[in-house]
Symmetry: D3
Subunit: 131 residues, 6 copies
């Protein structure tokens, strides 16, 4: 059995189109990414995920580019190919320069290394960091 | 067989003390964290890790607080208890407010969720994100 | 040096053919998946893995479709492309509808999100969940 | 700097109390788990996470115990101690017997093993599983 | 509901005792580790896991200490506290010196770092490594 | 926005060429792998990563083939496709036979399985493994 196919706007239900319209308007784009066209197979998840993303990624105490870089850092750590591609592009649109990208990956690499050094040496948490 | 014990300054070799001294001077602290006292069991790793951290975490295209928040985002994704505690404290010292911390975790959570939605729906990368 | 090639039935040893025959008979299929043709490079691992899978995936206190969905949930969390494809198909054959698949991924997504919120906030285990 | 403390009902804002009240009423419990008392430090995340959980975990095409077991399978794969404890308890409350729990962990273990065998042997996806 | 308790030899069924006896005899130890006392809640998983471990960890093309170090490297990468403690001890019993342990963790750290650099830079596989 | 392109020697700065030259000389190869051609976008990371790899992977208390197998075990656990391909080739060049490769993957698979069994059963660390 083959995998699912994307649901294009022309073939979408009114419920799905409403979410697609909101994504397109919020982001000022002509068509939504594949991610949303696949989530459209489960309209409640499409709607909930978009509304959560819209709320979480809106600039607040952190600005848009910082949020996109954090998203990218998590995606790189998890090895999600789709998310690295799409949020790498989103971070660049939000203002991440190549120098910022290079430093971001350097930090992500070091954190993944030292996380395992801390695990491997079984380092106990210092009292000043404890409750 | 029990796990390793931390190596305190008084018991350290000259090679280890030189690294401890540089950490203390760079960070203006009186004593190094447990992480370094355990790495001291392998002096080349202690030295290489500290020099890499010092280079990578120095402000550049990204400022110190952004770098510490990215470090924390990776550590939370990997579930490294020690690193969450120590880099949570480091991020706060570098200027992360409670509002910034809340938004950081919200982004980390969403990224971990959508990474799996992209995996599960086997979403192909859009042509505009491809090479 | 190139990667390994699959071992087809015609080129397999008697030891490998015996496992392939058992897989084909148990699952009522004409040929085994690539997974088994690659494991055939290490016959003891082929045999042990098949016997373990046959025992673990047999209906018991949990039925076949629930077991396949759990397998898929783990594979999606780990981002294993091959396993998502093969166990997605297996789960559908065992009775997973598209509605069940959509809800499964929604739960997998939420669990991956809240696992990190629990990590990030360093939530202590409530006494009623402790030993 | 120490980690955060739980926010108890008596000290909570009206916004937080409204979410706590809805959790308590929906689950017919006297007090909310630590997870919610920590999320309360970020009221929008508390509200969004609870509303998402309530929607996603409601019985639908999958029943409550299956959803809780999938949640537990993900948490075990990620090694989230808090979530293993809390969703292990939730799954038992929803009807997971010890026999079901044993089979669940056996499947989770096998999936984590074979995910890596598929990675390590670089097994290509069979044509019948491809798009 | 509290978590499970270990099953001690005195309280074990004949089926469980047979596995415990084989572990004790194979390893020349007086009592089995907690890991086996918990698996005893699911006797088929106890038996299958022990027989697989006994087969996989036996010296063959790789010697015992190399196998234990690989086990430890995986456990450190996954952050499994129990497994880091128990397989750290097993690796030392099998002959891992402190110098070997230090170099092992250094490699584990570097691999975790460069895995993410390869992900983040979306490095395509060189033709000579491809099928 | 498209992903980055590799930086070839002819187009590289003197700083990057110096690292490429050292890699080629140390490994006695005519051209560097794609990994290094992508890291070249961030010269400090290129230099630091190469110097760390050269130090960490040099034979010491562990020989070259053991180090490459540990690197491969971590990459398989993380599911890093590039690293599995490149370090699989490196391990074979360093002397890993097909029999050693088969046993390596069998251990990696078992460790990933039992890591989750230990998590799921919430096995407490035995006193003899504790500090």
């Amino acid at each position: 059995m083959a995998s699912l196919k994307p649901i294009e706007y022309a073939a979408a239900t009114a419920e799905v189109r409403a979410v697609f319209d909101d994504i397109k308007q919020s982001r000022q784009i002509k068509d939504v990414n594949n991610f949303w066209k696949y989530l459209a197979h489960d309209p409640p998840t499409l709607k909930r995920t978009w509304e959560s993303i819209k709320e979480v990624m809106a600039p607040g105490a952190l600005d848009a580019v910082t949020k996109e870089m954090v998203y990218l850092a998590v995606s790189v750590t998890n090895g999600c190919g789709y998310c690295i591609a799409s949020h790498g592009a989103a971070a660049r649109r939000a203002g991440m320069s190549e120098a910022m990208f290079g430093e971001l990956l350097a930090v992500v690499g070091m954190a993944n290394e030292t996380n395992r050094l801390a695990n491997g040496y079984r380092v106990p948490i210092d009292p000043q960091f404890e409750q």
